[in-house]
């Protein structure tokens, strides 16, 4: 009996330690949040609590790319007709999808969840604003917006990332290379091509229930694509508040070019469940592929001898989509 009880204690000890440290950590973080709420109640601005480097490294050590691809494969499996309605209904109910806007409302039409996720909208569901020069390229939630200051962009209020790390080296056009050789200004100054102009940014988060295609936000010419393979951490607003430089860690596709006022770019950032990005006019682009070397990027120019303008996009025109896995 004694030997058996010693065995039970030996088996339980790691569990006890785990429970004690886990609940201690939870208690500590809850206390921190309580203190923040109290300070906010008193009108004191509290800086966001960002993750420690160790926490980020731990999160990055999770094989999110592998998980994402497995998730994508699973969702490409064709569902039997009888299973489609309950599966998609559960998804609709969980994420608040509005199927009345979908071009095809009949759930049996979608062979798998990937197809359902890529659903198109009815043509009249999203009128494009004519009177403003920049429109939202997608459905979603505005995380942050404003002017870029000191080469830092805010992903949410108070949590920034480096503009240069996000876009990569400033070498995408011959014109800009010449300018960067002569100019000793900051990276931000190199992007601004016209006197008196400033650099602006806007971050839009697409929730799982949102329409996941994106469109051209303005009339512009896309000259260059830069694909950064990277991690696939979650990009939900809570994680964006927690992990500094989240958008620089994650896989992303940067489209850059020009509009009437100078530099213009749109970047699609992937996430765990939505790991791959498709650009309709770019068949060379392959995202979330197993080949991945940390910190690398692949450039592609849309300007050629036959096409000196790049790809001309009209405001509201179909540009690309996110895919599951």
């Amino acid at each position: 009996l004694h030997a058996a009880s010693v065995g039970v204690v030996a088996r339980l000890r790691p569990l006890h330690v785990l429970l004690a440290t886990g609940s201690g950590y939870l208690g500590y973080s809850q206390y921190g949040r309580y203190k923040d709420r109290e300070l906010e109640r008193q009108g004191i601005e509290v800086p966001p609590r960002v993750a420690h480097e160790v926490q980020v490294a731990l999160y990055k050590s999770i094989p999110t790319r592998l998980l994402s691809r497995a998730w994508g494969r699973l969702n490409q499996v064709e569902l039997p007709t009888w299973l489609r309605k309950p599966v998609y209904s559960l998804y609709i109910w969980t994420f608040g999808v509005n199927m009345k806007e979908a071009a095809v409302e009949e759930l049996h039409h979608y062979r798998n969840l990937s197809e359902f996720f890529r659903r198109k909208l009815k043509p009249q569901a999203r009128p494009v604003c004519d009177s403003h020069c920049v429109i939202s390229p997608s459905d979603g939630k505005i995380l942050h917006f404003g002017r870029v200051k000191n080469c830092e962009v805010e992903q949410v209020k108070g949590v920034t990332y480096s503009l240069e790390t996000f876009l990569g080296p400033h070498t995408w056009t011959d014109l800009n290379i010449k300018k960067s050789e002569d100019d000793t200004g900051s990276f931000q100054d190199l992007l601004v091509t016209k006197e008196g102009n400033e650099l602006f940014h806007c971050v839009i988060y697409l929730a799982p229930g949102d329409y996941h295609c994106f469109h051209s936000p303005a009339d512009w010419r896309v000259a260059h694509r830069r694909h950064f393979p990277g991690s696939l951490m979650s990009v939900n607003p809570g994680v964006a508040r927690w992990i500094k430089e989240l958008f620089c860690h994650n896989e992303r596709v940067v489209l850059s070019g020009e509009w009437t006022h100078g530099f213009f770019s749109l970047t699609a950032v992937g996430a765990t469940n939505v790991g791959s990005i498709r650009i309709y006019f770019d068949r060379e682009l392959h995202t979330n592929s197993p080949r991945y070397s940390k910190g690398s990027f692949n450039d592609f120019s849309y300007i050629s001898n036959n096409n000196k303008d790049g790809v001309t996009m009209q405001k509201g025109e179909h540009l690309g989509e996110f895919n599951l896995g």
């Binding site: 979603g140 942050h144 917006f145 602006f200 971050v203 295609c213």
Partner: protein
Amino acid sequence: STIVLLFEAPKDFTFNISAGQKIRFGEALGTM
């Protein structure tokens, strides 16, 4: 997934949105 727009515009460009707001494709982000 997330979309980040970065663009150059005249200083008088103003956003007509607010942080945390839900937005739909086609709605105005800002103007000059």
